[in-house]
Amino acid sequence: MNYTERLSNVAVLGAAGKMGSGILLLTALEMVDLSLKPENKGKVFVIHAIDVSSEALVGLMRYIRVQALKAAEKKTVQLRAAYADREDLIDNEEILRQYVDDVMLAIRPSTNLEVAYNSTLIFEAIKEDPELKVKILTQLDKNNPGKPWYFTNTSSIPITQLDEKAGLGGRIIGFHFYNPPAVQKLVEVIKSAHTLPEVEEFALQYAKNLRKVVVPSADFAGFVGNGHFMRDALHGISEAETLAKDVSLPEAIYMVNKVTQDYLVRPMGIFQLIDYVGVDVCQYIMSVMNPFVKDEDLHSDFLDKLIGQGVLGGQYSDGSQKDGILKYEKGRPVGVWNPDAGKYVMITNFQTSGDTRLGALPASFQPWKSVAFAGRKEEMLTAMFNEIKSMDTFGAKLAKTYAKRSKEIGLKLVSDNVAFTEKDVNTVLLTGFFHAYGPINNYLD
């Protein structure tokens, strides 16, 4: 079965979810692009969008229609060539509409798992629950006579475990997209102990066609991305808890969030990132990872408490941020949850005192968005970190400790053989987390 045949009947499980919808979109586009090649004229390409929620599938189809048109507009030059033999399609607009129609015609939404019983390739993007994943994969493989290949989007569960427990005989690979899949360039590719070479070969070709940056990771719970992020988050929580001996917890959270965003030039502070991923998702990923790590406890009582209080974060279906540890207005943090009082405190109440305690930002400070895409990025970062290095303010100290810990986490991923190279760690943080620089660096040496 060649690349095209493998992609002729695909299923996406959890298709209406945040990750599933992106995977469905990208895969459907790739399939329709294949169908437009002269050698594939007349071949049928089908992608089953499977989800438990019928309602969510309606939203999914709307999302796909809008996104497929956007994708089409960006490749109009190619699409005019692809539809050159369709004499009835003359204007760009007619061609782009036809392309969107072709994408929609390839997608079959369904709430029944059975439709995947004759798929040749199955993407799994359901809840991050090892038992549920094993159960579904087992059921599918028992009923699908075609020995399909499985791409799992798990961000934390070891692939070997899924492979063995579901009895897949190496027909599985970890293909971890970053959120949102349609935008983020990074995928982590993780082989199980048994992954067949042809599955990996296909995965790399598929990633290449989607123009993704591939970072291979060892099959260790959490892989590179969450291996770094979860520990980085725990460090942030621990710093805030220490700081809360002197100031209120919301103020401490505000300060650590500010230091991680401004002093460390990140796209968002650590607490906002936890909200972005989802407080419950973070807790869950830690619980999946924790049994596999030795000498460490990847667990946070703080997160447990928040979840108990219903503080969950995550995003609305339109991509906007739900309130979590922080409260948001128009996407910007305006308040912080106070677990003791069970309500949000507005940032304006303690912003001045928190900022004063942190001290002035370095004179060369530039926000992430002015640095990350600048031609002089290296120069700007060097100047800023040189300044921070010599500064004695509380903010600078927190930043230095934080950056040191982040580097330590990165180096440990390499020494533990989770990541294959230091560069891989940096690539994951640069492309998967949009950091302006990798955690393994010499800025503060």
Binding site: K74, V77, N92, E93
Partner: protein, 405 residues
């Protein structure tokens, strides 16, 4: 001609422009430009008739019957004659020609002539479909996604194959630099807010055939613009009626119109043959030579069209236009300044309005009303020339002007 008025050329580049926010439409632009002229000529009662040039409001704005917007400018224009003319991107000068003919025929003494286009109603990729109507509809299927950039990219490619790759590329970049430098001096220009200090580098950027066309980069292209321009075409009698001294008016000395077959590809893509013919007729009817031209407004829908226009006028031999531009001759400080408010690349290209905007720039320059854009006009070279083109060198109007007194 007297009493010109340009609205802002609105679109990407202007600080006011935001693609997702509401913007003025046809009504606002027409009213602003129309009233801008009426205010200078003593009101609507002095107007005998009106002409409006517009290319594609039927598709950009789902609006036809454009002449009926003339009374919308001012109730004083109700029941007066008005007509809409269309010749793609040459609609503006066709409107002028229509007004001029009416005055010459003595059927009117004061004609309000306007051009308008509002294009930012659709994304550029769909705008390309609409603008493709300036070419032959039966050629659209074979054409590029970006149909007109594709046509002029083909011309640039042929020119570079014939005369070398580098010099034409450098000249196109220089054309862009000149355009932006001029636009920065004109507050209504779309590139007025451009503060880039890397203009030359932008102009030299390699074309990206995967996303755009083979031989042009985006800086070689005129802008997607909204705007209107209006001016009064008057007889000597009319000038007295509106009470404006001759010194504030320009006189049409000559005009050349030429049309070519829309179904035919150019005989030689490195020559704008119809442009050459229109200019020849204009200079001949004016009884002047190209050496007497003090300034030119040419139709640089693409920078390559600027190079080809220089050659079509005869200022440089075939293949010599690039060198002529690189020597600085067309800069505002050069021998014969071109497009002194930025042209289509710098000021903007609200398609149906462009021909009228060109005449207004000449009127401003020859009567000393160009503000920061003002160039010196010498006694030896007192004439201004406009070239307005519809389609790929198909519908041409070229006009020679001189200060009326």
């Amino acid at each position: 001609m007297v009493a010109g008025y340009n609205t802002i050329s609105m679109g990407t580049g202007r600080k006011e422009f935001h693609p997702k926010k509401p913007r003025p439409g046809l009504e606002e632009y027409i009213k602003e430009a129309g009233q801008g002229v009426l205010k200078q000529i003593g009101g609507a009662e002095n107007v005998d008739e009106a002409v409006i040039g517009n290319f594609a409001a039927t598709r950009f704005n789902k609006q036809g019957n454009m002449a009926a917007f003339m009374p919308y400018i001012d109730a004083g224009l109700r029941y007066k004659p008005a007509v809409r003319v269309e010749g793609a991107c040459g609609s503006g000068a066709l409107a002028l020609a229509t007004g001029i003919r009416s005055v010459l025929a003595e059927t009117a003494d004061v004609v309000l002539v306007m051009g308008v286009e509002v294009q930012n109603t659709v994304k550029a990729i769909y705008g390309a479909d609409i603008l493709a109507a300036a070419g032959w509809a039966k050629d659209r299927k074979q054409g590029h996604a970006y149909y007109f950039p594709g046509k002029f990219s083909d011309r640039a490619k042929a020119y570079q194959e014939k005369f070398g790759k580098d010099k034409p590329r450098e000249a196109m970049a220089q054309w862009y630099v000149n355009a932006i430098e001029n636009a920065r001096l004109c507050p209504t220009a779309q590139e007025y807010h451009n503060v880039s200090d890397e203009l030359q580098a932008c102009g030299m950027m390699n074309p990206n055939p995967r996303g755009f066309v083979d031989s042009l980069n985006v800086y070689d292209c005129s802008k997607v613009s909204d705007g209107a321009s209006a001016i009064a075409v008057v007889s000597e009698e009319g000038l007295k009626r509106v009470g404006i001294p001759k010194s504030e008016a320009i006189e049409v000395i000559g005009m050349g119109q030429a049309e070519d077959d829309i179904t035919k590809a150019p005989d030689d893509p490195t020559i704008l043959a119809t442009t050459r013919e229109a200019v020849r007729k204009a200079l001949e009817s004016a009884g002047i030579t190209k050496e007497q031209l003090g300034t030119v407004e040419c139709h640089d829908c693409f920078s390559i069209a600027g190079i080809l226009a220089v050659e079509a006028i005869g200022l440089a031999p075939h293949g010599g236009g690039a060198e002529f531009i690189l020597q600085g001759n067309t800069k505002r400080t050069g021998m014969i300044p071109f497009n002194t408010t930025g042209g289509l690349v710098g000021w903007g290209h609200p398609t149906g309005a462009t021909g009228v905007h060109q005449a207004i720039t000449i009127w401003e320059q020859l009567t000393g009303k160009a503000g920061d854009s003002q160039i010196p006009i010498s006694h030896n070279r007192p004439y201004g020339l406009t070239i307005n083109m519809g389609g790929d060198d198909k519908s041409l109007v070229s006009i020679v002007f001189k200060r009326a007194e």
